[in-house]
């Protein structure tokens, strides 16, 4: 955790410097009182101070035997990557494939490929889920869900 805290601290420190620079460049207020950059600048400064404290507390704390490993197991990591890839593909292709097909495929992928469920159950859940969501959102709630070039 100690090393992880230090790395996080550095990342957050960089982020807050970025915020402060961005806020500094905003024009000052035309009237009395603080302008647009006022709050983000001071929040950035506060965050920088806090991340500095985090790095410091990481340095000062004695190294404890790691009670839990921070990194997921190889299998866990693969599962996570699989979900991230699936979700990315889903969002990218949603407007081409259309809602019904895209959502059905994502459900089937998550259940059949990631969770390795039986393919009969997979197909059943995928069809029901995609159709069910379509009915709730498009039919009952009147949301215009994305369609493919064939109109569904």
């Amino acid at each position: 955790m100690r090393r992880a805290d230090q790395v996080t601290g550095v990342v957050v420190l960089l982020f807050s410097v970025f915020v402060m620079v961005g806020a500094w460049r905003m024009p000052p207020s035309a009237t009395f009182g603080p302008g647009a950059g006022f709050l983000p600048f001071w929040c950035g400064a506060l965050l920088a101070l806090l991340s500095f404290l985090l790095i410091l507390s990481g340095v000062r704390r004695p190294l404890v035997a790691a009670a839990k490993t921070l990194f997921p197991s190889e299998r866990g990591l693969l599962t996570l990557a699989a979900v991230v890839v699936g979700l990315t593909a889903y969002i990218l292709t949603l407007e081409t494939l259309g809602f019904l097909v895209g959502t059905g495929l994502l459900t089937a992928y998550l259940l059949g490929v990631v969770e390795k469920e039986k393919w009969t159950t997979t197909i059943l859940v995928a069809v029901l889920n995609s159709a069910g969501l379509y009915v709730v959102f498009q039919v009952l709630l009147g949301v215009n869900l994305p369609t493919n070039r064939f109109g569904f």
Binding site: S29, C43, L47, G76, L94, L145, P146
Partner: protein, 504 residues
């Protein structure tokens, strides 16, 4: 007499067929969300915002509030039957609830949990009913400095009380406020951190961020180490659910005390249902004649935390409705929902939208009765829900979240926001950063900023305006104290250690 008049108006609103139906849907979904481990009330409410978008504000909030307190009922079922808390406010219920189930007393444990929840939930609604109007009257005199101090205090208290590390909680809160700055500045019209992206002009979509940080992050965490569930066989026939006379005798005191303590903790910003359940369990253990039996399956150990978390859920509605300050992650999401519906929670709400305020409060009385019916005779049905494996649930949660986020603005960009914040939320959880303060910061950020800049404009940039007015002075000092409390505590502990080492 005014209160009865108002409550009558409230029941008139809440008893309309549509509101009754959605109250029922809300508490049913709430129970379901409470029962299912791996999906909590914050996630449930966040997903519901887009779904209830087309409804009137009153109906939408009645539904979401129903999910919130309904989850407090459902959570106990999972704790008692499989020793896995359905949501964080039921963690303590596992201690004695699961032990009771192992001794074959699952029935009375479930029954007592439902009845204690009902008593405390009704008590909390009654207290909310009595306390909220006078508090709103006081808050009517608040100007920008008071509002800034109040939101600031809400923010610092929540961040400093959540999670194990106060430092990380505060960092998360500040991160949220920075996120709130994205988009067109409401005061000057200046673009901030939009990077030329038109979708960011309106700011980061609150729903996308909340669903990402809670729902998607939760899915990713659960995927990494799957839960193992051991289901307790239990006799769940209606007759076996009623606690016996002896059970009642030992539980009534704890239920009464826990209702009051839970409500007070719920009203305080920053301490929600989870903390309330821990505090009351500890209190009852200390007051008990046989503290050593706690943890072996005593019924008070179930009654106290279950009463407390319901009372706290009701209590949390007090600052939300009267001051517009959410006290917890779930109420922060509720506040976001109110703002989306064009309602600005705060003292004026009682004057401008009495039908809304009283309708929601009245619906909580009705919802609690519905929940008692849902959770006593039908508990066997909920228990069977636990047999649905998480791997089936996971794709459903992901797709419902994605569609819900899309539906709010009809654009795919919000899905990317959800996706991005899902990963950020996952990393935050891995690194022990609580997510609730970030959401709170995002919701409260614009309010903090507006009142801060208005105040400084009034005072021509003089910061003393926050200290010279009595109410804002007290609140600002309290906020600063809670912000620097971790430093004081570290210094205090270091001093103690030094003293101990010189003595030794």
């Amino acid at each position: 007499m005014d209160i009865f008049h108002n409550l009558l108006l409230g029941f008139h609103v809440a008893l309309s067929p549509q509101n009754l139906l959605f109250c029922f849907i809300g508490v049913t979904l709430g129970t379901l969300i409470g029962v299912l481990p791996g999906i909590g009330p914050v996630t449930g409410v966040a997903i519901l915002i887009p779904i209830t978008f087309g409804l009137s504000a009153t109906t939408a909030i009645i539904t979401m509030a129903g999910v919130y307190y309904g989850a407090m009922y459902g959570g106990s079922t999972t704790s008692i039957l499989i020793n896995v808390p359905g949501e964080s406010a039921s963690v303590v219920t596992c201690l004695d609830g699961y032990q009771m189930a192992r001794k074959g007393r699952a029935g009375p444990a479930l029954g007592m949990a439902a009845l204690a929840s009902f008593i405390a939930g009704t008590f909390a609604t009654l207290a909310l009913n009595l306390i909220a109007p006078p508090l709103a009257d006081v808050a009517l005199s608040f100007g920008p400095p008071e509002y800034f101090a109040l939101t600031f205090m809400g923010l610092t208290l929540v961040t400093s009380l959540s999670g194990d590390s106060m430092l990380k909680g505060i960092m998360s809160g500040v991160f949220g406020v920075i996120l709130a700055c994205v988009g067109i500045d409401a005061v000057s019209g200046e673009e901030r951190f939009t990077f030329g992206n038109v979708f960011l002009l309106d700011g980061l979509g609150f729903i996308g961020v909340a669903v990402g940080l809670f729902a998607i992050a939760e899915v990713l965490i659960n995927l990494e180490d799957p839960m193992e569930q051991v289901f307790m066989k239990a006799d769940l026939k209606l007759r076996s659910l009623f606690p016996n006379l002896q059970d009642w005798k030992v539980s009534l005191g704890p239920i009464g005390r826990s209702s009051v303590i839970g409500f007070i903790i719920g009203v305080l910003p920053g301490a929600g249902a989870t903390i309330a359940s821990f505090v009351t369990y500890a209190t009852e253990k200390r007051l008990s004649k046989h503290p050593e039996k706690f943890g072996t399956g005593v019924i008070e150990g179930v009654a106290a935390p279950e009463a407390a978390n319901n009372a706290a859920a009701g209590g949390a509605m007090v600052p939300l409705l009267t001051l517009g300050i959410p006290g917890s992650g779930t109420t922060a999401v509720l506040l976001g929902a109110l703002l989306i519906h064009g309602l600005r929670p705060g003292p004026l709400l009682f004057k401008t939208n009495p039908d809304f305020v009283w309708g929601v409060i009245a619906s909580m009385y009705i919802g609690n009765v519905m929940l008692l019916v849902l959770n006593l005779p039908l508990v066997a049905m909920w228990a069977s829900m636990l047999r649905v494996p998480y791997r089936i649930l996971m794709p459903l949660i992901v797709t419902i979240s994605a569609v819900g986020v899309f539906a709010t603005d009809n654009n795919v960009f919000d899905m990317w926001i959800m996706f991005g914040f899902g990963i950020i939320g996952y990393l935050m959880r891995k690194l022990d950063f609580p997510a609730a303060p970030a959401v709170l910061g995002l919701v409260l950020g614009p309010l903090v900023e507006r009142s801060l800049r208005q105040s400084l404009t009034i005072s021509h940039g003089d910061l003393s305006i926050f200290f010279t007015r009595p109410i804002s002075g007290v609140l600002t000092v309290a906020a600063l104290l809670s912000l620097f409390a971790p430093l004081f505590r570290t210094a205090w502990e270091a001093r103690k250690r030094r003293l101990a080492s010189t003595k030794g």
